[in-house]
């Protein structure tokens, strides 16, 4: 029988942890920061260290009943107040209620004359006094490296910092110390040497004009942690980190089926439609009706009372609502009922990780059962150093674990046989629906066929897609359409014609 405590093979219990309350971070660290120990958070200026540290204190005070003290060495009362305000709290209110205490320690820029031996007991006393005043359990020192510019004797300073970190542990305080990133060392003054238990590094890069933020656990003693970089976002509620979900493919395959929203399409899929929790790709050239297919699917889900989340990267929500009205679809009533939630963003507004983080956050908040991403095409243009496929792997993985049925639309280009970006992505998808324009005998028409759909005997026929104010209908089976077997087969046959 498994014991209550997690024991490693050597019989040691794993380190006790203190939850940070920061979205995603507690998942990555499997519980939070090491309790009663000092964690170092390092990174360049502007990467979010102070915000992370403050968030740790605010959540501690408000959600976990652990008051916190912040010793601020950088004379930034406005910045701290603003950071706390960005999390939705008032620093003065928190201080009044003895939940949070900030002590601003001013470092004289011009080094003070040293007339003999000294130590930093003054700092210790101030910290102890603040901790005692509100019975704090959490401490932040931000940023302790500022002391190096005020105290000339670096040997005394280092020895005192070591003593300070030991003091924090003796007092059983869980602490975060922030440090500025160095060029040769992790922090400018090598603080990482004194921090044994946990080191987190934050990074903020601008690649091809897109800024991305990443978090990496450099060290976490006693815990198996991912060594990857996790993208994170600084949003309205503070920091959200996107955890890698299930490195092992263990999502359950659901057997429920849900309607595609188009009656005849359901028929083409064993009369039942998609598997719940599956991923669907809809590709087609411009104007072939991809968004309409997505909208019909969404509308059917809302009609069943299910929550839907529609991410749009090209058209504004009001454009979509208007366009769908013209094909007989009233999406507004679902929006009004709170069943349909649009999120519109320009693909270039942030890096792929940023988009992923937003999607994660909204899904966690709204808990939809259906998610649409329309289109994923433009996201390719912001790939930069981060491959769109990796992002989609993470996203689809996350959606399957949450058992959310997802639909992705992708624009393909005329003459381009569905390959390229679609092929890069199609292996992630359980169902692939292809839309096409063609002009047999000079009469233009739209065509739809199901290229693949795992786990079901789907129809391989192509049908005409008729779009009118009455909505979307699938017409007759097209006898003159090449059999939709493989992508290569379809394009070769089309070329031969």
């Amino acid at each position: 029988m498994p014991s209550a405590k997690a024991k490693s093979k050597a019989g040691r219990t794993s380190l006790a942890k203190t939850p940070t309350g920061i979205q995603g971070l507690d998942e990555i660290t499997r519980g939070g920061l090491p309790k009663g120990r000092v964690t170092l958070v390092c990174g360049k200026a502007g990467c979010g260290k102070s915000l992370l540290a403050m968030e740790f204190l605010v959540h501690g005070a408000v959600e976990y009943g652990e008051p916190g003290v912040c010793i601020d060495f950088e004379e930034t009362e406005e910045k701290l107040t603003a950071n706390v305000a960005s999390l939705g709290f008032d620093l003065h209110e928190l201080s009044k209620h003895k939940k949070l205490l900030v002590d601003y320690v001013a470092i004289d820029r011009s080094q003070i004359a040293e007339t003999g031996e000294y130590n930093l007991d003054g700092l210790f006393i101030r910290l102890a006094h603040a901790v005692k005043a509100i019975k704090a359990k959490r401490v932040v020192l931000d940023s302790v490296e500022a002391l190096f510019s005020g105290i000339a004797d670096s040997a005394i300073l280092r020895s005192e910092l070591r003593r300070l970190f030991r003091w924090l542990e003796d007092q059983k305080l869980t602490a975060i110390v922030t440090g500025e990133a160095g060029t040769q060392t992790l922090t400018r003054h090598g603080l990482e040497e004194y921090i044994a238990d946990c080191v987190i590094s934050l990074d903020h890069r601008v690649t091809e004009q897109i800024s991305t933020r990443r978090l990496r656990i450099v060290k976490y003693r006693g815990t198996s942690h991912g060594t990857d970089e996790y993208p994170f976002l600084i949003g309205e509620e503070g920091i959200s980190v996107v955890p890698i979900t299930s490195l092992v493919l263990t999502h359950k395959a659901l057997t429920d089926r849900i309607s595609t929203g188009i009656a005849t399409l359901d028929e083409m899929m064993e009369g039942k439609g998609f598997f719940r929790g599956s991923s669907v790709l809809v590709t087609g050239t411009s104007g072939t009706g991809k968004s309409s297919v997505a909208a019909n699917f969404t509308s059917a889900a809302c009609a069943r009372g299910e929550q839907c989340l529609y991410f749009t990267f090209e058209e504004s929500p009001s454009q979509i609502l208007r366009n769908m009205r013209s094909v007989g679809l009233n999406l507004e009533r679902w929006v009004k009922k709170g069943l349909l939630h649009f999120n519109a963003m320009r693909p270039t507004s942030t890096g792929l990780e940023g988009h992923l983080a937003v999607i994660h956050r909204l899904i966690s908040q709204l808990r939809p059962s259906v998610v649409v991403v329309d289109p994923i095409t433009n996201l390719v243009s912001v790939s930069g150093s981060y491959d769109i496929k990796s992002m989609l792997v993470r996203l689809v993985d996350f959606l399957k674990v949450e058992q959310i049925t997802s639909m992705f639309t992708n624009l393909t280009f005329a003459g381009d046989p569905q390959e390229r970006t679609a092929a890069a992505v199609s292996s992630l998808m359980d169902t692939w629906i292809v839309l096409r324009d063609s002009k047999p005998n000079g009469r233009p028409r739209r065509e739809l066929y199901v290229l693949k759909s795992r786990g079901m005997a789907h129809s391989r026929e192509a049908r005409e897609l008729i779009v009118s104010e009455r909505g979307l209908e699938l017409g007759l089976v097209l006898r003159d359409h090449p059999p939709a077997t493989t992508v290569e087969g379809a394009s070769v046959v089309a070329a031969a014609k």
Partner: protein
């Protein structure tokens, strides 16, 4: 109207002669004791009685550390005459003390 007589004021020169020095310590540690001893000696030699030393023990009054922004112990603050000056250490380096606090009494 009655003018303010010069008698009622301290003459300017002697006012700027009078030093008020505040020494922050944290308990009777060897450094702190040495600082007190050194300070008394320096003041006697250089300030000829025109001084007052205040010793603040932060172990007894921790809340006073904030006002003068004390981090290091011992710290000596020259409060009067202005400007305020601050030095740290046990004051064994006499020259540093004199220069750091600018202890030459004004003429």
């Amino acid at each position: 109207m009655k003018k303010k007589t010069a008698k009622k004021r301290q003459p300017k020169t002697s006012r700027s002669d009078f030093f008020i020095l505040r020494l922050y310590i944290a308990g009777q540690t060897p450094n702190s004791v040495a600082a007190i001893t050194n300070l008394k000696k320096i003041c006697e030699e250089k300030l000829h009685g025109k001084y007052r030393i205040e010793v603040v023990d932060l172990l007894e009054k921790p809340q006073l550390a904030k006002g003068d922004q004390i981090i290091a112990i011992p710290t000596l603050v020259r409060r009067l005459p202005p400007p305020v000056k601050k030095i740290i250490g046990n004051l064994s380096k006499t020259e540093s003390v004199i220069v750091g606090l600018d202890l030459q009494p004004a003429r």
